[in-house]
């Protein structure tokens, strides 16, 4: 049952991210703004919604059903998702299947977070039992040292330099410069990158996502619903792979490597058919790992050439919003950010950063660091649908 034809994505929105949210900002309030904006875009009323999925680190003690009540929603399908950077595609997978199965007809997926300083520290120190027991006592301050060491391994394995990672950050900042919703839009130069304070060697400030407050939402419906007539986006294929190596590897290969053949076979498409890619960019090394696993670098002699000839050149548009590295990481919304950008591009509503004639997009999610690197990876291939 890999055919998603019965399902359409009919809205994708972002509540503007802010580095320093105004007093009175709350996670539930941001999620409500995302819900409202998504329904407005889809030309739906709240009483037409019968499914809700929520991803948020800071919504507790509330859960999805509490948010549904506070937002006035009556639902027959309701789901909390705690998969961080993989939550957007994970929610999409389950929501699409719910619509296929007839459990719901119109589903809204919301994600977002507002962190107070103490909230963020608490999150990174208590991310899971392993982190609390074995990483918190080291005072790592979150996963930066883990991905610094992963980046070192990738540099050794692929003969990459800090200048190569800089090229990824600079390319995304160029996209961000024409995205009015990106938090950081000023141009980034190689000199500025190399002069930036080091966080965990070799990672500098520009390799680490800025924490922001914000929210995203998407809406799915059955393809026969009236809201699917205007500008639908279709799911060609979706695959996930979690705990593929039980943390016994080097973290340079994600679960995507094992599902890519099935993904492209289901989609009946190839990486070369994609007009753009949104890839989860918690760190530049993970951009390369996921793109490599999905097959986007297969025709390239090495990752250095891939970075400069394909990504920096924009022959392959990657993270056209600026990605988390420039647009910001709004907690669990990071797992939906790239999805929203790809949908916006496929609907030809991306303004100055619009990729010409965008018809196909690939989006990947990654995350949930267990002990040494992320446990989760998933990917979806999307297609611009025909208006009716």
């Amino acid at each position: 049952m890999n055919d998603f034809a019965a399902v359409s994505i009919v809205a994708a929105v972002e509540v503007p991210y802010t580095r320093h949210a105004p007093p009175g900002t709350s996670t539930a309030g941001l999620l409500a703004q995302a819900l409202k904006a998504a329904l407005l875009q889809a030309e739906l009323s709240a009483n037409e919604v019968d499914g809700l999925g929520v991803a948020s680190f800071t919504l507790p003690p509330d859960h999805a059903i509490d948010f549904a009540w506070r937002a006035g929603l009556r639902v027959s399908w309701c789901m909390d998702d705690g998969h961080g950077g993989a939550s957007g595609i994970n929610l999409l997978q389950h929501a699409a299947r719910a619509i296929q199965a007839g459990d719901a007809n119109v589903i809204v997926l919301v994600s977002g977070d507002h962190f107070e300083a103490a909230d963020f520290t608490s999150l990174v120190e208590n991310y899971n039992v392993t982190t609390r027991a074995h990483l918190r006592p080291l005072n790592t301050g979150g996963p930066n040292p883990l991905f610094a060491m992963l980046t070192q391994r990738q540099m050794r394995a692929s003969q990459l330099t800090r200048e190569d990672y800089a090229a990824l950050c600079i390319a995304q900042r160029e996209w961000a410069s024409v995205n009015p919703l990106a938090v950081y839009r000023e141009p980034l130069t190689l000199d500025a990158y190399l002069a930036a304070p080091l966080v965990a060697e070799p990672l500098c400030r520009f390799d680490c996502v800025p924490v922001v407050s914000g929210a995203n939402a998407i809406v799915l419906s059955s393809s026969t619903h009236r809201c699917a007539a205007r500008s639908p986006v279709r799911i060609r294929a979706l695959r996930a792979s979690y705990n593929v190596d039980h943390q016994h590897g080097d973290g340079l290969v994600t679960g995507l490597a094992g599902v890519r053949d099935a993904l492209w076979r289901d989609a009946n498409l190839q990486p070369a058919d994609m007009n753009l890619v949104s890839v989860y960019d918690d760190y530049p090394s993970m951009i390369l790992a996921q793109l490599n696993d999905l097959g986007f670098a297969d025709e390239q002699p090495n990752l250095h050439t891939f970075i400069h000839e394909r990504i920096a050149s924009r022959r392959l548009p990657v993270n056209t919003s600026g990605g988390q590295l420039s647009a910001g990481q709004a907690g669990a919304a990071a797992g939906m950010h790239g999805l929203v950008e790809a949908i916006t591009q496929l609907r030809h509503e991306a303004g100055a950063r619009q990729v010409d004639d965008a018809r196909f997009a690939a989006v990947s999610g990654y995350g949930m660091v267990q002990y040494r690197y992320g446990m989760c990876a998933n990917a979806v291939v999307l297609e611009r649908g025909a208006a009716q």
């Binding site: 300083a117 963020f120 520290t121 990174v124 392993t130 027991a133 074995h134 990483l135 918190r136 006592p137 080291l138 005072n139 790592t140 301050g141 979150g142 930066n144 040292p145 883990l146 610094a148 060491m149 070192q152 391994r153 304070p197 080091l198 966080v199 965990a200 060697e201 070799p202 990672l203 924490v211 039980h246 002990y371 040494r372």
Partner: protein, 98 residues
Amino acid sequence: MNVFACVACGHADFPRRLLCPSCGRDEFVEVDASKGSVEDVTTLHHRAGKAGEDIAYIATVLTQAGPRVIARLERLLAPGTVVSLRVESDGAIVALSD
């Protein structure tokens, strides 16, 4: 410093699992892992939400028992350095060069 070996199949892992990822059994014995070699080291300069520099050295250490652990170094050590591992009272794994 100990890691955990499955009684049934001998698979060694760290941190301890609920069920063995290799054979699914739930009995483990502790295995000495007090020696290892440094694989990667990062100098940590800044932590999110904390002002100012507070240098620490964080390493991936391959234990002689098999599993890799994340440890704090007392000083910067090169990859390949043989180290002794101990667990402090707060749970921190510390690696010391011999």
